[in-house]
Amino acid sequence: MIARMIARAGLRWMDRRLRAAALTREALAKVFPDHWSFMLGEIALYSFVTLVLTGVFLSLFFDPSTAETIYGGSYGPLRGSSVSAAYASAIELSFDIRGGLLFRQVHHWSALIFLAAIAIHACRIFFTGAFRTPREINWLVGVTLLLTSLANGFIGYSLLDDLLSGSGLRIGYSTFLSIPIVGTWVAYLVFGGEFPGDRVIPRFFSLHILLLPALIAGLIGAHMAILVRQKHSQFPGPGRNDHNVVGSKMWPTYAFRSLGLLSAVLAVSFGLGALVQVNPVWVWGPFSPSAGTTPAQPDWFLGWVEGLLRLFPAVEFRVLGYLVPSPFLPGVALPVLMVVALYAWPWLDRLVTGDRERHQVLDRVRDRPGRTAAGVWAVSLVVLLTFAASDDLVARGLSVPVQDYVVALRVVVLVVPVICGAVAYVLARALRGHPGSRLTTMEPRQIAGVLGLRRPEARRPPAPPGPRAERPAVPSEDAPDVVDSGSRHGG
């Protein structure tokens, strides 16, 4: 009761200064679609919140310096050793500061979940055509968020100055070096000189806790502001069309559901941080440029680049008498190509489908078999490349020579995505036009129809002008009541 009075007084105080009542009411009435997949992006958002919360704690203890210090904490094997201040403070966080290891592990786990959520959210956007006009800007913002988060993940992982991340940093440096003409300068600008140098860790610290998080936060703000301005897209369904959004209102239902999700993200991150070890830097030891450990992989989100580096044949060539070294094609050229394609997808999609309409209602995955096939091809390629990054572990598990396993993987990586894409195309074609049918309930004749194994009359007319055209507009009396400020529909 008292809380309610205070809240009311506070609102009145604010409103007398900002005249915010109408605006706030409008904001609280925003309608969110109820489909579960719309919350994937929210998982990413709340992982970011977790990252900031735990990261602030860590930044108060971490010492981003390569200055040699004598570790004097409670981890016996390191006591009395001369290591960098960065590594020593990471060990202190892991052994000597109560709660430090928990927060370190929660931070790392939520970083891994953050990027996983971004990736899967991007897939949802892709396969449902949510990037189409008018949402291209948010696609660009989203891809930039993905890349910024990827960079910040790698940089954060590299800060601790341990042997495993140091190897990763060295591979990153070597990849910069491999860029023709400007590579050495780029690498030197980032590292302040020849690897390893004493500048990279303080620099990466500034990037990791200041510049990139600020950029990510700003981009998330823009992402959500645009979302609010344009309103959510929605899946097709009764009463849903290009002129409305159907779902739950921001206040109170959706807000409570979303607070529940925030709590769930924190619960999972803390649960993992409590139960499962992540990045045991005391085990890997401090970085030394002449030492290494095995198995040496980056965090999962850079596995695809690592997979490319491992699978790509030893190709070096000369241009104008200058060396273009082997990491260039797999480590720079192909990833840049993939990123450019990702950025350009809304326009590539338009070229392929010829669809220049404005869309508020999403495609179902089956509606655009061509896009679905392209997406499945790309996703399975990236998944397989990520899997290839563990080639040494898998080869050891299978007791086969890693050299032979790599040869097999090269074939798999080229062939399997094409098969996956083709299967996806056939399945999407088979399901298209059967709105009630699902992958699990589909009948063989639907596939047979696509493959041309049945008489032509069973075929769908080729390339319908648009998925909407197949669905008759919902008669207006079927649509739920249209309300602007929130009386509950139905009863």
Binding site: S167, Y173, S178, G260, L266, G292
Partner: protein, 275 residues
């Protein structure tokens, strides 16, 4: 109506339990497992409570919100464009463009300061600390004697006085001189079968720390490039395309291994350089 309320209350009760558990385990000095599980339990209770609350006590909709078209009426846009197109003299506008352009370029110069120390990359990357007469020492700074390098062992050597440089580490091995097939011109680079190669992989610069002694192979643990020691550390498989640079060796009076010069080519990962 009573049952959901009880469920929600129970969920928030779990949060209280989690809070007590976290606080108690912190005070008791349990720093990870119980503390973390306490927090996790607390958040899980909140999650369950909020979600149950939303599902049972709050209006379920569906609600419908109308969209306004995301395009301004033509009049508004034209008015904005007219605002932007206020006439101004051509000369000031061009001069402003020139001023901003040159000023922007001037702002690029301080970027060079990011390269803090040392000579330009093309010089720094091409050389290491090895010189003719520099003794090989191990990681503790003890000189490496040829007699210590027995067949089948592996010594990581550094130039004396330069233990901390990132690019000088060399792998010193002893092989059967009769089986050694070095490229022409390197006959005098070994001491009685003792050979030394850069420890940095020519693919991405990782230390080639795995020595498979019976097969005389050096293997990189990062991307599994394999180098054939007997053939001058030529790459056999994996993504590395160039041999590990060989360090010319000789012996000083005390039986200690000494470099006879620097590596003949830059060590580690390749870069844009004349070849």
């Amino acid at each position: 109506m009573k049952r959901p309320e009880r469920g929600i209350a129970a969920a928030f009760g779990v949060t209280v339990l989690g809070a007590v558990m976290a606080a108690a385990s912190y005070v008791a000095g349990a720093d990870r497992l119980l503390l973390g599980l306490g927090f996790a339990l607390g958040f899980a209770g909140l999650a369950a409570g909020f979600v149950l609350w939303a599902a049972t006590l709050l209006p379920q909709g569906p609600y419908v919100e109308e969209r306004e078209p995301m395009v301004s009426p033509p009049g508004e846009r034209e008015a904005l464009e007219a605002e932007y197109d206020r006439p101004a003299g051509r000369l000031p506008r061009r001069m402003l463009a020139l001023a901003l352009g040159t000023f922007g370029l001037a702002g690029v110069f301080p970027v060079r300061s990011l390269i803090v120390h040392g000579p330009s990359p093309s010089v720094a990357l091409a050389t290491t600390a090895w010189r003719d007469g520099v003794r090989l020492v191990d990681q503790d700074g003890r000189p490496v004697r040829a007699a210590d390098v027995t067949p089948g062992t592996m010594v990581t050597a550094f130039p004396e006085g330069h233990l901390d440089t990132g690019d000088s580490a060399a792998v010193v091995l002893r092989v059967d001189p009769a089986k050694l097939r070095l490229p022409a011109g390197r006959e005098r680079w070994t001491v009685d079968g003792v050979v030394a190669f850069s420890k940095l992989c020519t693919h991405a610069g990782c230390p080639v720390g795995q020595y498979v002694a019976p097969a005389q192979q050096l293997v990189c643990p990062c991307h599994q490039s394999v180098f054939d020691v007997l053939r001058g550390a030529e790459p056999m498989s994996g993504p590395a395309a160039r041999s590990l640079p060989q360090l010319p060796l000789r012996l000083d009076g005390d039986g200690v291994l000494v470099a006879a010069g620097d590596f003949p080519e830059p060590v580690g990962a390749g870069y844009w350089r004349p070849m």
